[in-house]
Amino acid sequence: MNDILKISGITVLGAALSLLLKRTNRESAMLCAAAAGILILLAAIRQLTPAVNALKIWAGKMGMENVNIAEILKILSAALVIELSAQLCRELGDDALAQKTLLAGQWLLLGMTIPLLLEIGDHLIRLVPAGA
């Protein structure tokens, strides 16, 4: 509850300050809005820690290889960072650069995901008996 109040307060304050600065000092208004966005994400991202830790513990219990879980977490965090930087860029007023960042992130994530998909394919081939 405390975090939600903090996030809503930061949102309203950031919007008000950005509005105050918008007419006289546009760059500062944009940076103020960006700082508010970063503060919101900083307040929220700590809440992810127990979920990620639980996921790791669960994967250990299921006997999954730790390598795969690390890879999945890496892909997840890469997606998070790409989306975050694209939104920050859009906030600062450059839409085209944000789109390019998203596109580059998609290519990167595709490159990171395809080995995992191929591994699943290998497992499937092993499950289906040969010649069936």
């Binding site: 930061i10 300050l17 600065l21 000092n25 760059e27 500062s28 103020c32 970063i38 307040a43 965090s77």
Partner: protein
């Protein structure tokens, strides 16, 4: 630290606006431009530091370091 930094950024923005308008009225456009650039750089450094902290947090939360 959380909310103060937002107020700091807004305060720097307001201060820079006032100073550069005064300098403009006094006929020192060059100094006014320099003031605006200095304010922008200060705010940018603060924002970049926050972005770095956020990325660090992502790295520690996902056990990537």
């Amino acid at each position: 630290m959380q909310v103060q930094i937002l107020l700091q950024i807004a305060g720097i923005g307001l201060l820079v606006t006032v100073i550069s308008q005064i300098l403009n009225k006094a006929g020192r456009e060059d100094l006014s431009t320099l003031t605006a650039i200095a304010g922008l750089v200060i705010v940018l450094v603060m924002v970049v530091r926050m972005v770095g902290q956020l990325l660090n947090d992502v790295q520690t939360i996902f056990h990537l370091s």
